[in-house]
């Protein structure tokens, strides 16, 4: 991606618009890079996290459901057994009483009361009363808290059922006393026909058997008969709508399970749109149905709590990942951008150097070609000068004019020579002999050399040299050329108006940094990019070659250093030269 970007960017065009376009495309590129890194980190970390967590949660949920269902099934099953056992026990008590005492004894109300008291003593207040009823439904004897002696049960539903079988346990009903209760009746026979010993079972005691089944906030159980009538009181819990659920109960009754003891579980929503678990099992040989019901939310409250906790943890985790992704990506992108801009700088330098080299070769070629004709011209003019010495002109004015013209030709020839000299030194340096150079001494010499010119231009030269700088191992004449150029340029920049020229030197790591600052008019930004280009000059035609700074640039570049410019229009310009000193050159003077 980076490489593509490099190929697309056109570095040879360095006008302002192109630069802004390039910056925009760079910005855009880094924004999308940033976005991509963030997305990739998030996707790669969050997706496995979510997959793993949801798989674990799903598996856990399934097994937890099974566990809860098993528990409820077991609960209901054991309770049906308990209730069945309870009923069987009561029944066998009464049967024992019937078989052991016989009707004659039991018809004696005193005896009956004695028996009742004995039963109550043994089993607690489960047995409320006892009564002996003949085949016509008349109560012959009664013992108990109600005044029910001589009561006629001939029309009572339970009596009709009880007289037909050996024993009978009734549904819960109000009966003559007007209170909910149920009856255990045992039929026996005497020579004058069947008789029945019945006992009322305390409803409150019976209800507690079912009330014991309580789980969570909403779990409770009821017993229904096969008509769907409640056989136990319903625990008063305001949140539960029992009447609406009756249809659900009757559904159980309508579809009796094949083995009556089997426990069935369904999940259905009631009229208030709450989902409930219903656990049902038949008891009393399929007459009654024990139904346990609980809100689904309540039954799985632990699971839901765990779910909320895990989700919260995951949300925090994901948030952490996002924050990490954003900061990480920011760091990466910042580094890439830095590397990128460094690369860009490098490339710019390479282009600059390449341009200098090619222009240099061209210039060298031209300079060589021009040298000969110029030399001939100068010599011819010299020859004319030689001849002038012999010839005497009539008019002395003309002679002076000739001499002036010849001199002018020679002067201009010398100027040509200077230009070609500069061009050639730009391509190939004259004195490349490398030696130890004390930069401060060199600068002092140049300052002394320039002081006369500076005085003319009303420029004050200030120097700020760090002492004991290591020496540079470079060519003296080249270095002189560079700083002579920079100092001259600085004075030119302040010409007429005057100002201050500051030359400073100091050591920075392995570099010597020399700054040449003027307080002149500054360089407009449009020109700043081009000042190191060969032949670029803002001076009037004939005043500057446009080679000075590009030569300086070439020289400093060759020394492995850097030549940079900082300029503010109206404030001044600073040329910063930094040249590395290495190896032997690094020793202190």
């Amino acid at each position: 991606m980076l490489r593509k970007y490099w190929q697309n960017a056109d570095f040879s065009k360095r006008d302002g618009t192109n630069m802004t376009n390039m910056n925009q495309s760079t910005d855009h590129y880094f924004r999308s890079l940033n976005r991509n890194i963030i997305l990739i980190i998030i996707i790669v970390s969050v997706i496995p996290l979510i997959l793993v967590s949801s798989t674990i949660y799903y598996q856990f949920r399934v097994s937890y459901h099974e566990k809860v269902y098993d528990h409820l099934r077991e609960l209901v099953h054991s309770h049906t057994q308990n209730i069945d056992f309870f009923l069987q026990e009561k029944l066998s008590d009464i049967r024992f009483l019937t078989d052991s005492c016989g009707r004659d004894l039991l018809e004696d109300e005193l005896f009956l009361q004695e028996r009742l008291a004995a039963l109550q003593k043994d089993f607690g207040p489960d047995f409320v009363d006892l009564g002996v009823i003949n085949a016509d439904g008349e109560q012959i004897a009664y013992a108990g808290p109600f005044k029910l002696a001589k009561a006629d049960y001939a029309d009572a539903e339970w009596f009709r059922r009880a007289i037909q079988s050996e024993y009978y346990i009734s549904d819960v009903f109000l009966g003559l006393r007007g209170l909910p209760h149920f009856i255990i009746a045992v039929r026996n026979s005497r020579e004058d026909g069947y008789w029945i010993l019945r006992s009322t079972i305390d409803f409150a005691t019976f209800t507690t058997l079912v009330e014991n089944i309580r789980l969570g906030q909403t779990g409770f159980a009821v017993i229904l008969n096969n008509q769907g009538q409640l056989q136990t009181t319903q625990i008063t819990r305001p949140s539960i709508d029992i009447i609406a659920s009756k249809t659900i109960y009757t559904e159980f009754l309508a579809n009796p399970s094949v083995p009556p003891s089997e426990v069935r579980i369904t999940v259905k929503s009631d009229s208030s749109q709450h989902e409930n678990i219903y656990v049902a099992a038949f008891l009393k040989n399929g007459d009654w149905l024990l139904v346990y019901q609980q809100r689904l939310v309540d039954a799985f409250a632990d699971l839901n709590r765990a779910f909320i906790r895990t989700t919260a943890l995951m949300v925090f985790g994901v948030l952490g990942i996002i924050i990490m992704a954003v900061t990480l990506s920011k760091t990466i992108v910042r580094r890439v951008a830095k590397a990128d801009s460094e690369k860009q700088m490098m490339r710019k330098k390479v282009v600059e150097a390449g341009k200098l080299a090619s222009v240099g070769e061209l210039a060298a070629g031209i300079a060589h070609e021009i040298n000969n004709p110029v030399a001939i011209m100068v010599e011819e003019a010299g020859w004319m000068g030689d001849l002038m010495e012999e010839v005497t002109f009539d008019e002395s004015e003309n002679q002076a004019e000739f001499e002036r013209a010849i001199e002018q030709i020679q002067t201009q020839g010398k100027r040509c020579k200077e230009i070609t000299y500069k061009l050639l030194s730009f391509a190939r340096k004259t004195d490349t002999t490398v030696q130890d150079v004390n930069i401060n001494e060199l600068l002092e010499e140049l300052v002394a050399l320039s002081s006369q010119r500076a005085k003319y231009s009303m420029v004050e030269i200030r120097t700020d040299f760090q002492e004991n700088l290591p020496s540079l191992r470079v060519s003296t004449s080249e270095l002189q050329q560079v700083f002579f150029n920079l100092i001259n340029n600085a004075i030119d920049a302040m010409d007429h108006d005057g100002g201050t020229l500051t030359i400073s030197s100091h050591q920075s790591e392995n570099n010597l940094v020399i700054a040449v600052s003027d307080t002149g008019k500054g360089i407009p930004e449009a020109n700043l990019d081009r000042i190191f280009d060969p032949f670029f000059t803002t001076k009037p035609v004939g005043k500057g070659t446009g080679l000075g700074l590009s030569i300086c640039y070439g020289i400093i570049e060759k020394m492995g250093g850097k030549l940079e410019v900082e300029s503010t229009v109206g404030t001044g310009t600073t040329f910063l030269t930094s040249i590395p000193f290495q190896g032997d050159a690094g020793r202190q003077h």
């Binding site: 060298a364 060589h368 040298n371 000969n372 010299g382 020859w383 020839g413 050639l424 391509a427 004259t430």
Partner: protein, 135 residues
């Protein structure tokens, strides 16, 4: 200048001027001749060698950049033919390496081209004096 030239009038310097730029050689020889130096022109390396065969010279001014032969080759030939010949090389600017090589091969000195006539004359005189000294 003129007075210094006249000093050596009694024993003129014999100069061989080698350069493939004819006009340059022509005008330069005219000017030098005016200063009482005996100048022989050669427009190529081959001509220079030929000229040296027929005559003895004190000093040779040799352009290092010529079309037919490399100036260094010509220098080698000239030095073989007359080891005492003082050769002043004319080099293009920045060809210091070639000039150094020439000096190693026995050339007297070098000047960068284009050079001032006065400079060249001084150098010629130096070379001549040097040759005389060696003799």
């Amino acid at each position: 200048m003129t007075s210094s030239s006249k000093k050596i009038n009694f024993d003129p310097v014999r100069l061989l001027l080698v350069d493939d730029e004819k006009d340059f050689v022509n005008i330069l020889s005219k000017r030098i001749k005016r200063r009482n130096i005996e100048v022989t022109k050669a427009f190529s390396g081959a001509e220079a060698i030929q000229a040296l065969r027929g005559q003895e010279f004190d000093v040779a001014v040799l352009d290092l950049k010529m079309e037919d032969m490399d100036g260094i080759e010509v220098l080698k030939m000239l030095k073989i033919m007359d080891p005492r010949l003082a050769v002043i090389m004319l080099t293009g600017h920045g060809s210091a390496e070639a000039a150094e090589q020439g000096i190693k091969l026995g050339a007297f000195d070098y000047l960068t081209k284009p050079c001032e006539l006065e400079e060249l004359l001084e150098k010629i005189m130096e070379a001549y004096a040097h040759r005389k000294q060696v003799e």
